[in-house]
Subunit: 603 residues, 2 copies
């Protein structure tokens, strides 16, 4: 097939921009053929570009050659068309189509490129297998819903840049080829050719560089930064992801929160036309755990925890009393008005569900009009039952779901049960956007595997001042000047004020079990830097992919990343990662020590 | 030393923002102590932040404790100060200081952090050794001139994003972990843990992805993108650098040029307050070589080439006639009014200089009032001499500098000689910003080492349509739809229209000496993609670092990159690249095959 060029033509409009107001104008359009239908001797060709679709018409009034050429057009052919905008007759108006009042009568048509039949339809919300979508990502990205997602992503990034620029933040680029600091997730490494045996690491975040920029006096920094973690991928993770990252000097937590509430308010207003209320609720970590068993509670529905340990501490039900005796607790949620729906089968399924979270089981009391339905009331006295009803405020029609165990298991199992009940019985108002700050996180948590404390956020987080002495005595009780921002039960960002004195940073590394030598070997350049006039500073980072995903109403961050990778960290389109030439390895002074998998196997 | 916090204080102004208009206001400032001088019982402390410096005053009116605390302040201490803005008495006004009309009488002072004496002064334009500056980059970046550079960089990036957004470009992120395609520069590789023996490559540019985005219908894309090339570093190269990258569909060269001239006009206006004239001159490659011997000519001065081959083709000077007989040429430049300065010593130095560019020597004729000074006129007839004078238009006082050789050596040597003469005799007007498009590049150039044609730009560049048949016959003569943008003799960007048909892309790889199988193995995903409706498209990319460097008036891109690397691709601050734990290598299934250098040696 011989193709034509656009020589002498220049596009005048995008397809989706035309309206009845353009009636009578001569326009030059370009794009992809969506459909070509013949109806009563007329060829109707729908033309698609990034902005939408428009109908082109060819009929017996058309130049014969143009008409004949229009008959050759197949789906996804690339064309340019010159024509006149005409109003459709009333019976032909298509109210479902943005440009449905008009069509373009074509006087000149050029076929710029042909197209083989695509492996799937270029339409919205197609049900195609993921691997095929990703192999032909360039076609998947041509679908209007994916285009909307990508355009949304551009808008979010642009709006963030405008907002933070207006608030005095400088976008400064930090290195991608940096130093491996094996504290945190696994690094991606890059062998050095000039220094054989040495490696760069790709950054897990710009954390240290942004702190150094504060030290260097830049006052307010932000960056939309690519970050890398070589972890086994869960559904919603990517080996490379994007952070909206910021850092401020001479700041307190309130200032950081205020600036970011302003950002989110503007974002939701400009992108979703939605007014969200600020300031957001702030919930200390301990309270979040007590009430929701989670440091990222979904507050679009209630069903908060009730601690009934006091009511049952002397009861005849060993599961309860033993949990309490071993330092644990007995807690429950009340499923309001769901008593009827809590059939034995459903209750058994929920009891099975909580085992995923290491709970040994779930007890339940369904409050009916005249009696209680329960497997445990036989172990309880009248008073104990009454105390439970008083504590929970449960009314006829309600169901009380109870977990007894060590506290961390109770939190986890009951917190997830709360979410499961909400999902199962459709208690979540999907139109709500509930924002929440969780504050006062523990600074450290004990890692059983490593048998030492590890940083809950990262080792640069500032302890709450009054807790600093506990670093040496009871490190598990030290609170951090850290905060996460939660939207509808998803953590969309987090941050902290940072340590900015060398001696406190040394104490922190000591609490993490590093010898002074180890600490200086790994992070010496930072602790050295702290000596030369470091301002108090702190910051925050959003997971941009996840934020855009929530704004777009998607279920996976894959749908808001142009070229994502699959669970095995492979890209199906170009087949990376892939074997390389021996010469490349020789130059780097490295060798592959394992037998390579067969190419593309399991990817 | 015990430090204080900012509890209860909130900064009201940045130091450089205050003016006489703030007289009488109570302000809270933060920053670094630049100097602390005692004069007649008054302590004058200059406080510095990103916006500038201001003088704080402490005297016998001060609270005694505040005064005593002010005596402790040393350079680079971090402080917060509350005080009143006062006008200085006329004799104390400092006209060299932006805030020189005022000072702040301090009522409350907090020392937030101390500072050891920095290894160099935190002042403008200090003369410190580069290695020290880079090791303590966070202090180097605190110097006001470096801060101006970084702020300028932020402004340039912001302005680019605003401009291209307004012109319908979407900023879309392309992957950093991508596929190694060994055509072009050397890739940085990233070993895959999940697929042992396989590697990702860091992108040399987003070239293929941006083309796929055009295929996917995004119409106009741009990105400020990090790129990587593992090449031996020259003075002005970095292993990671930043491109301002764009791509357009359904475009011609004129549209791309027009959009970019608009961008540069706005950039120079908004950043330097300078009006540059558009449209810029366009010069075909062949003409640029004929006139300047360079595809990036500096047109701020003239001294264009004159071809005097015809005049000397039969002369008695063997060097000239042999060059012409062997297909070369004899060309010269005229150094106007520099005859007097062309002493024998200078001429010998210039003759030595051209040898760097493989010229065997330089001939010269200095036109004096009554005679010619030259080492070669004795070999020339009167007519030949007159023909040279006529061709060059040389007048008494001028010097004619001549190179005879193969054409590519003449171009290179004489082109560089032209620049050297201009530098040496200060012929360049440094206030000029001369922009220039060079067009119609050769598509291919012959690589002697590889004994095959290689792409002058890259293998995706579209040939000029009428030259396509020559791809099979005389590939060296095929011109490309490529263009570079030159500023004052520096290439600041370049681009091309791209191939968008599978068969032409196959022909191109064939011309590069790839078998069909090799081409499909490496770039199959792209050629497969081309089958599904690829629009005509093209684009351009700027070297952002270099552009900012020229705008900032710096000599090195290091001065506009926050954390650059040195010539050995090492970062002196954190010591990367560095050895990693054996466990990390084992997980990746690789081993180091060379004896590692001693750590930090030669970095």
């Amino acid at each position: 097939m011989e193709f034509e060029t656009m020589a002498g033509l220049k596009r005048t409009h995008m397809c989706g921009q035309l309206t009845a107001a353009n009636q009578g104008e001569t326009v030059t359009l370009t794009g992809w053929v969506a459909r070509n239908r013949k109806l009563g001797g007329v060829n109707f060709v729908t033309l698609r570009d990034r902005t939408g679709i428009i109908q082109l018409a060819f009929n017996d009034q058309s130049d014969k050659k143009v008409f004949e050429k229009s008959e050759q057009l197949k789906s996804e052919y690339v064309i340019a068309a010159v024509g006149t905008v005409l109003l459709r007759t009333p019976e032909n108006i298509n109210p479902d189509m943005k440009t449905g009042e008009i069509e373009v009568f074509v006087s000149e048509l050029r076929i710029l490129n042909g197209a083989e039949t695509p492996p799937f339809y270029i339409e919205e919300n197609i049900d195609t297998n993921d691997a095929l979508r990703l192999k032909y990502r360039y076609l998947d990205l041509r679908r209007p819903d994916m285009q909307r997602n990508m355009i949304l992503r551009h808008k979010v990034a642009k709006l963030a840049r405008d907002y933070f620029d207006e608030h005095g933040f400088l976008e400064l680029e930090t290195p991608m080829l940096t130093k491996s600091t094996p504290e945190g997730a696994r690094d991606y490494l890059v062998p050095s050719r000039v220094h054989p045996g040495s490696f760069y690491a790709l950054p897990q975040s710009p954390q240290l560089y942004k702190q150094l920029l504060m030290l260097a006096g830049y006052d307010r920094y932000f960056q939309i930064a690519r970050c890398f973690r070589d972890e086994d991928l869960r559904a919603d993770r990517q080996p490379e992801f994007t952070q909206l990252d910021m850092e401020l000097s001479f700041t307190d937590i309130d200032t950081i929160i205020e600036i970011n509430e302003g950002f989110l308010k503007k974002l939701f207003h400009d992108v979703l036309n939605l007014d969200i209320q600020t300031p957001f609720q702030r919930l200390p970590y301990a309270e979040a755990m007590e009430r929701y068993g989670s440091d990222k509670p979904d507050t679009r529905f209630e069903m908060e925890f009730v601690n009934i340990s006091d009511a049952v501490k002397n009861c005849g039900f060993k599961v309860f009393t033993q949990a309490i005796e071993q330092g644990g607790s007995v807690r429950c949620i009340v499923a309001k008005n769901l008593g009827d729906k809590m059939t034995r089968k459903t209750l058994d399924q929920l009891a099975e569900y909580v085992k995923t979270y290491r709970a040994k089981g779930m007890a339940w009391i369904v409050v009916e009009k005249d009696n209680l339905r329960s497997q445990i009331t036989k172990f309880l006295s009248e008073t104990e039952i009454q105390d439970i009803l008083d504590a929970t405020g449960a009314q006829p029609g309600d169901a009380i779901l109870i977990i007894a165990d060590k506290n961390n298991i109770v939190y986890d199992a009951l917190g997830n049960l709360r979410l499961e009940v909400a999902r199962r019985f459709d208690l979540i108002d999907k139109t709500k956007f509930n924002f929440l700050w969780v504050t006062d996180f523990p600074l450290l948590e004990f890692d059983e595997e490593e048998n030492r404390y590890v940083a809950k956020h990262h080792p640069f987080t500032h302890p709450v001042d009054e807790d600093i002495p506990k670093l040496k005595t009871t490190p598990g009780e030290v609170r951090a000047k850290a905060y996460d921002i939660i939207l509808n039960g998803t953590e969309i960002g987090g941050g902290s004020l940072r340590i900015f004195h060398t001696d406190l940073q040394e104490q922190m590394f000591e609490a993490l079990g590093f010898s002074k030598e180890e600490a200086w070997e790994r992070f010496g350049f930072l602790m050295e830097a702290f000596k030369y006039g470091t301002p108090p500073h702190g910051g925050l980072a959003y997971g941009l992919d996840r934020l855009v995903m929530l704004l777009a109403g998607c279920d996976s961050i894959r749908d808001v990343i142009p070229f994502p990778k699959v669970q095995t960290a492979a890209e199906l389109m170009n087949g990376s990662p892939s074997p390389v030439d021996q010469k490349q390895l020789d130059e780097l002074g490295i060798a592959v020590t394992v037998k390579p998998e067969k190419e593309n196997e399991q990817k």
